[in-house]
């Protein structure tokens, strides 16, 4: 029976589903509803975090700081968090966020490259923020590697290490192995962030908690990359059913889910469709689900073939250019075959 700190990422990871087009209005109303429901931490920003609004990933209509300020001004209890991938986000972004009222900075890298985050973890800590080490695509690294990377994050001063299973590729026993390995390597708390490509998000959460995870990420209506994140409102219900304690109340979070759904209508929830199943199975980063669909349509190629190519290349997050390039290559091969 674990006391869980709930981190809602609707307003950051959910931006992937909304093509990075969240507005300050969507953010302020959703954040207020999440806060009223007792959510501990609310993460806000572009899908790829601070500095993510790029040609490469997708451009946002408003500067991220507007959304972040809107969130900070809309809550009374919840802490507001930002995600930062070094190379995308810079020191100045952290300084602006701190000024706006952000108190949690999650500094991210691919799951094998934690040492690229040291500078920014230290910067966030110097600014007085709670800093978190965030390992993207945790399902692309084996348990021992994750443990090594977690040790590095702990040594840099991270307050907890968040294992983001960005692909929705792992099954509960594999999640358990990883959380266990990390638990045996560090003294700081462990967080878990599943995706639902194989329908395993909530099951994986319960397995992670059984091995010692105490921070859990979810998103309203499952908005997020791939087939979406763990669906916050369902996760809260499942946590309570499993006997864990969490500050978030069920009626409140159901209301928040409705508020959010109305604000983003007619955008539907992410679903476990064929493309996202293939991506989960082939361990391909969930953020590519919409770029893959777009490229398949644009070049007249099979999305499944494109996904398999990306899987073969072991692409990591941030390789949207590989999606375009492989699609072109497939189209060229197809044209040649027909000729």
């Amino acid at each position: 029976m674990t006391d869980i700190t709930f981190v809602d990422v609707t307003l950051r990871d959910g931006n992937h589903t909304y093509k990075h087009q969240f507005t300050s209005e969507i953010v302020s109303k959703t954040a207020a509803a999440l806060d009223a429901a007792g959510v501990d931490i609310i993460e806000v920003g572009h899908g790829d975090g601070l500095g993510g609004s790029t040609v490469h990933i997708g451009r946002s209509p408003e500067p991220a700081i507007n959304l972040i300020k809107a969130a900070c001004d809309s809550v009374t209890q919840a802490r507001i968090a930002v995600l930062l991938l070094p190379g995308f986000g810079i020191f100045r972004d952290l300084e602006e966020c701190k000024e706006a009222g952000v108190s949690v900075a999650r500094i991210a890298s691919h799951s094998t490259e934690a040492d690229t985050t040291k500078q920014h973890i230290r910067k966030a800590a110097d600014l007085g923020m709670m800093t978190v080490g965030y390992l993207i695509s945790a399902g692309m690294a084996d348990p021992e590697t994750l443990a090594d990377e977690a040790r590095k994050l702990e040594s840099y001063g991270a307050s907890y290490v968040n294992l983001a299973e960005s692909q929705g590729h792992l099954v509960p026993t594999e999640v358990a192995e990883r959380v266990r390995a990390v638990r045996n390597a560090v003294s700081i708390p462990i967080g878990f962030h599943p995706h639902n490509n194989l329908g395993l998000a909530n099951g994986n959460i319960l397995a992670a908690i059984d091995e010692g995870a105490t921070y859990i990420d979810g998103s309203l209506k499952g908005f997020g990359g791939g087939a979406g994140n763990a669906q916050t409102e369902a996760t809260i219900a499942a946590l309570k059913r499993a006997g864990h304690t969490v500050r978030t109340d069920l009626p409140g979070i159901l209301d928040a889910a409705q508020v959010f759904a109305d604000l983003v209508a007619p955008q539907p929830m992410p679903v476990i469709d064929n493309d996202s199943i293939m991506m989960g199975y082939a361990n391909v980063y969930g953020g590519y689900v919409l770029p893959v669909k777009r490229a398949a349509e644009k070049y007249g190629i099979d999305a499944r073939a494109l996904i398999m190519k990306l899987g073969e290349r072991s692409v990591v997050a941030g390789q949207e250019d590989a999606v375009e390039q492989e699609a072109q290559a497939l189209a060229a091969a197809q044209a040649k075959a027909v000729a």
Binding site: G51, V55, S109, T116, K123, D321, E324, Q325, Q328
Partner: protein, 295 residues
């Protein structure tokens, strides 16, 4: 200190920083008959670079830049340490009259990307080579801005995990600022942004650089392709493994281009083309300043 070699005397070169970049540079300079690598100096006695240098009979030290001043007879120092370290050493090189070529993102001196502005900086005491990604992408941005105005240039350098060492990993903030600024200041875009993606896949991937130039949708793509093709050919003279992998094409309001860099495999295997592109620039700068006519 001298401006040009006379009567065939070799340029006495020192390299400070025995990591991936510095060690690869040592191999490249040794292949060049105009240079004598008298010193590879680092701080880590267990470094692979220093071991290789000893094997090859190159002078070594673990005293960092101090060894350069102790020698007292260095014509050019190439520094491949980290931005923070170079900022400390740079004024000392200048005071000692030693020409300094900076391979860190410290950006103390003038920024040079050889195919763009090599001829414009013949007297600066310190030349900065920005970053591996800048050397790989600024030529392309410049090739585009030579044809059409670019309001915003964005580059993404995707590199193999094994190709970047602790120096780079500790300097992503500096790398980001330096490279982003260079896309504008040297490349000619009105504004720039740079991203770096590290991929641990095995076998290690070749350095891949994607360039996006926001131009508006109405551009002469053929003229851009021609300009980029010519520029790639120029870079290939020193880096034969530099090639286009995504032909320039218009996508919405921007042009998208992809280049790949395969290295010569002098120190690290060929996936580490990031080393070749910055070291080729280093040699080109040193050659022009100290050797005169390019060999």
């Amino acid at each position: 200190m001298l401006d040009k070699t006379q009567g065939g005397r070799k340029v006495r070169a020192a390299i400070v920083g025995s990591g991936n970049i510095g060690t690869d540079l040592m191999y490249k300079l040794r292949k060049n008959p105009n240079f004598e690598v008298v010193l590879l100096s680092g701080i880590d006695p267990a470094s692979e670079g220093l071991a290789r240098a000893r094997e090859m009979g190159v002078g070594t030290s673990t005293d960092g830049a101090e060894a350069v001043f102790e020698d007292g007879n260095i014509d050019v120092v190439f520094e491949a340490t980290s931005a923070y370290v170079h900022r400390v050493n740079a004024p000392r090189y200048e005071a000692a009259g030693i020409f300094a070529i900076d391979l860190t993102p410290a950006k103390v001196g003038v920024p040079v990307v050889p195919t763009v502005n090599l001829a414009q900086h013949d007297t600066a005491p310190n030349v900065n080579l920005l970053s591996c990604a800048a050397q790989a992408t600024v030529p392309i941005v410049h090739a585009v801005t030579s044809v059409v105005p670019v309001s915003y240039a964005e580059i993404v350098a995707t590199v193999a995990s094994k190709s970047i060492g602790p120096g780079t990993r500790d300097n992503i903030e500096e790398f980001t600022h330096t490279t982003s600024t260079a896309l504008a200041d040297v490349g000619g875009a009105a504004k720039g942004k740079s991203l770096i993606i590290v991929n641990p896949a095995e076998p290690s991937i070749l350095m891949r650089n994607t360039i996006y130039c926001v131009t508006g949708p109405d551009v002469d793509i053929e003229a851009i392709r021609k300009s980029v093709e010519q520029r790639v050919a120029e870079v290939q003279k020193d880096v034969p493994g530099y090639r286009i992998v995504l032909e320039p094409f218009i996508r919405d309001d921007h042009v998208m281009i992809g280049v790949e860099v395969a290295g010569a495999g002098d120190f690290l295997p060929t996936y580490a083309g990031n080393l070749d592109i910055i070291n080729a620039a280093a040699v080109a700068v040193a050659q022009r300043r100290l050797v005169g006519v390019k060999a």
